[in-house]
Symmetry: C2
Subunit: 465 residues, 2 copies
């Protein structure tokens, strides 16, 4: 039961008590109803951490408090926020737990089947394999779509360097698929202002990285007639509507709230403190009058890694207060570093991931040297006991990039049984990554400065909503 459903149950029970009293019912009946009401209020407080207050529905930011180690002390809390992701578990973050903590919903078989039904397309491997594992309001988006009410997509990237690695492509690969199967417009925000505020970089560098990253994004194959890519540093100064939404959001979020959501402190600069409103603004369709002609009622769907969810929890809290629909979300798991799912990929460590600029030889060397193996120490042991695919980074990467479900399952079985050796598994990954990266580099080469400029120019898009 969600906090909102429980809230409604408490409200209904309160009305029931009033009705019984008004009707001068039996004392025993009234007492029983009051007792249930009190129990529900205790449940509500436990679930939301806040007292039930009539007329004040629960905020999405009051989620189940879930700090400290679990009762059995087996695992510590994973850290997941826009600036830091860490876990002590070799399999990576406990995503089921994260769904409970964040108050989102699981992408279950029913939802995946429904996406298949509604889109008429085989679900993307990221859906089939639980890589986009969590969502908010996805059923609502599909309900509306079935009634011929369309939606638009919004995703983004923080351009902290020129170099992007394969993990950065996940939201873009998936967003392109959504764009294709639903035939809808897409806006892509490059938060160069954010990177300036958080990093020791100049504004000029951040903006340059934004344009460079746009090239890699375009190389994913987005439809130029349906896609608008923008740098905050440019777009804020391109038309007044975007800033107007930023100010509206900034008026409805307090320092206390961003402190609670993002962990800001009094020593943080005022730019960081107000930035969340800038990441929130593209969730509202009238931030793009050139695309939506001033309409503010077009539903937004945001595919992103789950570390970005705090921004959109905040956005969803603010939306009804400024008269806009809440954006829906599809959350992905994190892409693991070569060194293992509990270590963080680092832009400064070239060996922590495969970069989009890597040569076939670099790819081969990095996988062979650095990809954390779930295999046993010796060939003999491996043959006897088999490898652990759950912690093997090569296998994880194949889960992201190998399209063939049967082949992937066979690899898993052979590796687990010991029939497939670590070296052989790595070879399979190398053979998957090399043509993928080479293809990306080929497409990126085709992206001219003029194409980038076209994608980044505010303009009408071609779609029916």
């Amino acid at each position: 039961m969600s906090p909102m459903e429980l809230y409604e149950e408490v409200t209904a029970q309160g009305e029931q008590v009033r009705a019984l009293k008004t009707a001068k019912a039996e004392k025993a009946d009234i007492d029983a109803a009051v007792k249930l009401l009190l129990k529900l209020k205790v449940d509500y407080k436990q679930m939301t951490g806040q007292d039930y207050k009539a007329g004040c529905p629960p905020s999405e930011n009051s989620v189940v408090p879930d700090n400290g180690p679990t009762a059995d002390g087996a695992d510590d809390e994973d850290t997941v926020n826009p600036w830091s992701v860490s876990t002590t578990n070799a399999k990576g973050v406990d995503y089921d737990k994260l769904i409970v903590r964040f108050g989102s919903s699981k992408v279950d078989k029913e939802l995946v089947d429904r996406i298949e039904r509604v889109s008429g397309q085989k679900p993307h491997r990221f859906l089939r394999r639980g890589i986009f594992f969590s969502h908010r309001d996805m059923h609502q988006v599909l309900d509306a779509y079935e009634k011929h009410k369309s939606f638009y997509l919004y995703t983004g990237r923080g351009p902290s360097s020129e170099a992007m690695h394969v993990g950065h492509l996940i939201p873009f690969i998936f967003t392109k698929w959504l764009q294709d199967v639903f035939d809808i417009p897409l806006v892509i925000q490059l938060t160069d202002d954010e990177k300036y505020l958080w990093k020791d970089l100049t504004l000029e560098d951040c903006h340059r990285f934004a344009v460079e990253n746009a090239k890699d994004i375009i190389a994913c194959g987005f439809d130029i007639n349906k896609t608008f890519i923008f740098s905050d540093l440019d777009y804020m100064g391109s038309l007044p509507e975007f800033y107007r939404n930023v100010v509206k959001i900034q008026k409805h979020v307090t320092f206390n709230q961003v402190k609670g959501i993002f962990g800001f402190t009094d020593s943080d600069c005022i730019g960081k403190i107000s930035f969340p409103a800038i990441q929130a603004a593209p969730s509202f369709s009238n931030s793009f009058p050139q695309i939506f002609g001033g309409r503010h009622d077009i539903q937004c769907l945001i595919p992103c890694a789950i570390d970005q969810d705090p921004y959109f929890r905040m956005t969803r809290d603010v939306a009804p207060r400024i008269g806009y629909p809440k954006p829906a979300l599809l959350h992905s798991t994190f892409f693991p570093a070569l060194q293992g799912a509990q270590t963080k990929m680092s832009a400064s460590d070239a060996n922590s991931s495969i970069f989009l600029t890597d040569t076939p030889k670099q790819i081969k060397n990095k996988v062979n040297k650095h990809a954390f193996s779930g295999g046993k120490d010796t060939v003999e042991e491996h043959r006897k006991y088999g490898g652990n695919a759950d912690v093997d980074v090569s296998f994880m990467y194949l889960t992201f990039f190998l399209e063939d479900d049967e082949k992937l399952e066979k690899i898993r079985q052979d590796y687990t049984s010991g029939a497939l050796l670590t070296g052989e598994l790595k070879k399979l990954l190398i053979e998957t990554l090399q043509p993928m990266i080479a293809g990306h580099q080929e497409r990126r080469k085709q992206v001219t400065d003029d194409t980038v400029k076209q994608f980044m120019t505010p303009r009408p898009l071609n779609f029916n909503i």
Copy 2:
């Protein structure tokens, strides 16, 4: 001595001590030098409230702590910040004390004489009468001007309603004079975003007020070839350079700092917390590339009421850290409410001031009914003891608006001696205000929508810098 001068003296004395030690001077000489150094450090701590730290010049925000009643308990602290001005003194705020508290400099006879010399014009009555009473770096501006290095003017208005009163004109009357005598460009910021954040108003209303207020401002007679008026809600979305400066400033100011300067709390919205950067940005010439062609080194002079100084103390602290010159300032006293200098003018109380839309009859009635009088209760007593011009609002208003110095002085003497009765004084004020307001209304009528649009369109201005 300013905190900066004292800082430099401490630094010099420190070097002196080191030099003596290096030279193996007499112990008595070294001891004496050390003793002086320690004394200077104590002085520095007393003046700035902070310990001397080599390499850390004093911040403009560390001014003499001056809280609580004075030793003799005669007067409480005046409250002066951008949102609240109050005093218990019928003569109004103690401005000399404010200069000490804010760490600014007095506009003394020497400065007024110098402005006359440099501009070749008789100083404006606001300078002759101490209405612009405080400044920062005005001598530096004049030094540069004498060396043919020009500057630009920046002033503004928070458009909280359609109605402006005569007090709102003070910075504009004075800025127009400065523009005329120095022949320099002027930018006028209408902070409609600020009003939206602080008041219970819609964005649309705030923006409409901005355009209405622009008409009253234009009616002051600004040169369209040298003046750019902008609404934040429009200008932020007009070109990227303004937002880039806003972000630069926002990166260099922490929540702690705005808490200290403006008294923000954790319950304030993030829009308020980051707004000071938006009021700061026009202080830097590259916020207006259409005017200054991207140059960031053109000195800015800001004439404003002193309650706006906190914004610019912050701006001056940030400026050198982002490579821009500090803006200079000229601060005015406050324009008193009709009910007296210790009450606040209220836009919601039509009787608290003379509005620019008032008819001659309304002006007459308001002055006669509401203008606080320094006269005695009866004609007999008044003739015998005389009136008190220092607390008489009609006399204060004449100080602002009556150009003739001799006539003003004669009025003061006659009123003080009892020769001039309150009714007669009020009549003189009415006769001054009526044609002034009528003239303003006449000029405002000439301001077409097209003129407003021209003034508010980002464009090159006509000047030599």
